[in-house]
């Protein structure tokens, strides 16, 4: 198996690596970079716990090969805060208590961050379509919806890198 050379930006920093083609982005992040905020829940791209942002779009890291991030920019939950200041979605999650066990939370926050970057005032139908890919087994989602409402009303969006 021939390794593939890739270069990419990860949470604002450039990197160059050679990766085996069969390695997923989830394992690249967790094993090579110790970014364990990306959780692997279902390992089938269904639950959304492994959501990370690649070139501004949400992807399932467990269902994405590492080689496909060549030339791209990745943001994980660890990179969402800017210089110690939480992203407004992170802050809203804290203020609303929008998590319980926390295992889905990284993916949930990143998904919502992308939504609000694209649509600062999403309607309910848009939120429903958007959150279809993030499962939370603990909260029943009401507190998460609460956090989205807080985030919408908070300060103007930071651009998602």
């Amino acid at each position: 198996m021939t390794d593939v050379a890739i270069s990419f930006t990860l949470n604002g920093k450039p990197h160059k690596l050679a990766v085996a083609p069969n390695v997923t982005l989830a394992d690249l992040l967790r094993d090579n970079f110790a970014l364990t905020g990306c959780k692997v829940g279902c390992d089938e791209g269904v639950c959304g716990a492994c959501t990370v942002i690649v070139n501004g779009a949400p992807v399932s890291a467990c269902n994405t090969f590492a080689f496909s991030v060549d030339g791209r920019s990745i943001t994980t939950i660890e990179g969402l805060a800017a210089a110690g200041t939480l992203h407004r979605v992170q802050q809203a999650f804290l203020d609303s208590g929008a998590f319980q066990c926390g295992f889905c939370t990284s993916g949930m926050i990143l998904s919502i961050a992308v939504l609000l970057a694209r649509e600062p005032q999403p309607d309910e139908a848009t939120i429903r379509d958007w959150l279809a890919g993030n499962i939370c087994r603990c909260t029943g989602y009401r507190a998460i919806r609460d956090a989205i409402e807080r985030a919408i009303h908070a300060a103007p969006a930071e651009a998602v890198p």
Binding site: K39, C47, D95, Q100, C101, L131, Y141, A143
Partner: protein
């Protein structure tokens, strides 16, 4: 939702404990834990529902480069007592002579990485002799059916109190039978003005744990150290000690944050196997199950419940007979306790002259049923609250009034010699009715239904201990075994401690759960933590407070009655004395830590039905507004209201979260969620095909209410509510369907096809 509930009135608090880590990716779960040079395990599982293992050939697998060892039933059989289960233990650490469900582990590979372990697992040859499958309760009980176990079940049937029976292996393929009763049910039913018999059925659901089962084990000489996602570290420790025949102190268990529990990570599971793998390998081993495997590890008991209920001429409930058959799957897990509690909970929220509830656990060649939030209460409340509603309607009585007439009042014992109900059930029901708009005119085609569920909480004769440590700077650390599974246990314990000390919450830390350091408890389940461990923490906090006051009094040369602890100072008359300098002056150097100790134990009481009085009662009031599409049978829940009583809320937002989370699990089971079998094999045991609720599935209007009725015995009048939201949701929806259409649907989930069939039957009935 179209009208999201506005953020709670309380302003956002400073996040506590691991909260910030959970939103920044810093939260550490067992899933994230690694040790240098650790090896990786994978399990080979049975493709057959029932078979004898004639032989296992691991030679090819063992030769593969990178394979360190393979563990089979032969290794497990060499253990002192290689079986686990709650009270009744029949589940082997690894299958020895038989497999009993599709997914039953038969071998465990340990290798340098997971890829190698997979390859090796596929190279293991197992020689199976298929046996007949028992896929349903009826299959298992059919005359001449093959028996799943040839030997009597190890362990002792649960000890029970007055009016209850508890028997292991009462019949072929019946693991356990139990009963709860009081009064003369036959006589009261005979004397009743009307008697109604109805049957209900409920299907199996899985916990769908986002953090699947994962454990890391390492031996140092004869000492085992484990990092485990298990909710009950001391229960686990005791089990491993028994299984391996080693002392409890030869075992150390660390419990990081748990990514979802709901009872699925309670009690012993595959942890002893991981320990065995590590011992055989002579190196640390990590075994991480996939979510697919999690779907085939444990489920909630499906079952059938037949209720015969009498009412007198005034619409008062007289007696109930309940006949419950729970499908226990292949192995016992917590089935005995679930069955006993299911029978016990058949009284629901009502006053009875007599009750006779019998439950049995039938063995089938399916995934083991065991501990799942609600724990027999979910099943029992569904049946009970559907029937109560049906009875009211048959009597042309208003379902709300019928219930109110029969509800237990605060303080009234749930059963003879048991504690009084510590909630105002009628008040909560009234609030649910208000919130759902019961008295307003119905929208055309809409129906409203309620349910009120009650379950005992706090466990049977439960105990916990705690330490509260306070440094010279007034920083507080609480040490207990209560595990954070998302219910904010650390915050609850720290609030109780800091309340008793009069210190700010921000100065408190909850210590890591580590069986070498945390004082023991019975486990994080049965919604006991806030109350039972809370009482222990409160006592420990009072103890340490007294120590601080006595120290200060000695230093000030006065009597302890002359001083008051006020923040991190003591006041004596008009003078204030900061504590830190006082402590440093005496202790010097790095200062000092006062350590307070507390404990709680509810004594056993053989006259109480469960063998101890129940610590608290956990009601759930729910109401649903639905409409039914008469051409498709699809049910739309427009509004769902759920309420619970925590006695006193330590954190209202957390209480709402617990109730809502449970309610949506129950809602899903009512509407669509089920783990299905197609013939011998599971049909939808994958994350893609096992449907759990997403945000878009939540009812348009979904609200919870927290009624702090302040009747409970925990610190400041609190008690637990973790499971409350499971109770009665399915019945509320079923009752609403009947209110909307007149049709009775008594099998969960209420799929469109089932509802349409009920509507068809009703039309056909109408035409006769």
């Amino acid at each position: 939702m179209n009208a999201p509930v506005p953020p709670p009135q309380t302003p956002p608090e400073a996040p506590f404990g691991e909260a910030r880590n959970k939103v920044t990716g810093g939260a550490a779960y067992t899933f994230d834990f690694t040790l240098p040079h650790m090896l990786h395990g994978k399990l080979l599982r049975s493709p057959l529902p029932h078979a004898r293992i004639r032989g296992i050939d691991t030679s090819a697998a063992e030769q593969m480069p990178g394979v360190v060892c393979i563990v089979t039933g032969a290794d497990a059989a060499a253990l002192r007592d290689p079986f686990y289960g709650v009270s009744l233990r029949d589940q082997p650490v690894m299958a020895t002579d038989r497999v009993r469900y599709v997914g039953d582990p038969v071998a465990a590979v340990v290798a340098v990485d997971e890829a190698t372990a997979f390859k090796a697992a596929k190279a293991i040859k197992v020689d199976y002799e298929p046996l007949p499958a028992l896929m349903t309760i009826d299959d298992a009980l059919a005359p001449g059916a093959v028996t799943l176990f040839d030997e009597p079940t190890r362990g002792i049937a649960l000890p029970v109190g007055k009016g209850c029976t508890s028997v292991a292996d009462p019949a072929p393929n019946v693991l356990y039978a139990c009963s709860f009763g009081h009064g003369d049910t036959d006589r009261w039913l005979d004397q009743s003005a009307k008697v109604f018999t109805d049957t209900f059925a409920i299907t199996r659901i899985n916990h769908f744990l986002l953090e699947p089962y994962v454990n890391v084990a390492r031996w140092s000489g004869d000492r085992l150290e484990m990092w485990s996602c298990n909710q009950d570290p001391f229960v686990l420790r005791a089990d491993i000690a028994r299984i391996f025949g080693i002392g409890v102190h030869a075992i150390r268990i660390h419990t990081p944050l748990v990514g979802g529990g709901f009872g699925g990570k309670s009690y012993c599971k595959m942890e002893p196997l991981v320990a065995l793998m590590a011992r055989k390998a002579g190196a640390p081993v990590r075994l991480a199950l996939s979510m697919d495997e999690g779907l085939l590890t444990l489920v909630k008991h499906p079952g059938r419940l037949t209720l015969t209920t009498g009412v007198d001429a005034e619409g008062r409930l007289t007696a109930r007979r309940a006949d419950i058959s729970l499908d226990g799957g292949a192995y016992s897990d917590a089935s005995a306790v679930v069955a006993l509690k299911c029978a016990f909970r058949m009284g629901g929220s009502y006053r009875w002259r007599a009750i006779d509830a019998k439950a049995r656990v039938v063995r089938t060649t399916t995934v083991s049923s065991g501990s799942f939030r609600g724990f027999g209460g979910t099943q029992g409340t569904f049946a009970s609250e559907r029937q109560i509603d049906m009875i009211a309607r048959r009597l042309n009585d208003d379902p709300l009034q019928f219930r109110e007439r029969n509800l237990l009042k605060p303080g009234e014992p749930y059963a003879p010699n048991d504690s009084g109900v510590d909630s105002d059930l009628a008040a909560g029901l009234e609030e649910a009715a208000e919130r759902v708009g019961y008295r307003k005119p119905r929208a055309p085609g809409h129906g409203i239904g309620f349910a009120i569920g009650v379950k005992d909480a706090g466990g049977t004769g439960n105990h916990a201990q705690a330490l509260v440590r306070v440094t010279q700077g007034g920083e507080v650390m609480v040490q207990a075994a209560l595990v954070e599974i998302g219910q904010s246990a650390p915050e609850a314990m720290c609030r109780i401690a800091t309340e008793a000390l009069g210190l700010p919450l921000a100065r408190a830390t909850y210590a890591a759960v580590d069986t070498d350091h945390s004082p023991p408890d019975n486990g994080t389940h049965v919604s006991c933590g806030t109350l039972v461990t809370g009482l222990a923490v409160e006592q420990a906090a009072r103890d340490v407070r007294r120590q601080i006051e006595e120290f200060a009094a000695r230093e000030l040369g006065c009597d302890v009655s002359e001083i008051v602890l006020d923040g991190w100072e003591v006041r004596r008359g008009n003078e204030s004395y900061p504590l830190e300098p006082m402590i440093r002056r005496y202790y010097g150097g790095i200062g000092w830590e006062f350590i307070g100790r507390g404990s709680f134990k509810e004594p056993y009481f053989p006259d109480a039905p469960m063998g101890a009085r129940n610590l608290s009662w956990m009601p759930c009031w729910s109401a649903a507004e639905v409409s039914v599409d008469r051409d498709t049978g699809q049910v739309t829940v427009h509004k769902l209201v759920v309420g619970a009583d925590p006695g006193r809320a330590l954190n209202k937002r957390v209480c709402h979260g617990q109730v809502e989370g449970a309610a949506i699990q129950a809602f899903a089971q009512a509407m669509f969620e089920e783990l299905r079998y197609q013939g011998d094999a599971p049909e939808n045991a994958t994350p893609l095909t096992y449907r759990v609720p997403r945000y878009r599935d939540i009812p348009e209007l979904f609200e919870s209410f927290i009624a702090e009725q302040r009747l409970a015995r925990g610190p400041g009048g609190l008690k637990g509510i973790g499971e409350a939201g499971m109770l009665g949701i399915a019945a509320a929806i079923g009752n609403a369907i009947q209110d909307a259409t007149g049709a009775s649907v008594n099998t969960v989930p209420f799929t469109p096809e089932k509802v349409l069939a009920a509507l068809d039957a009703q039309s056909a009935g109408d035409k006769r």
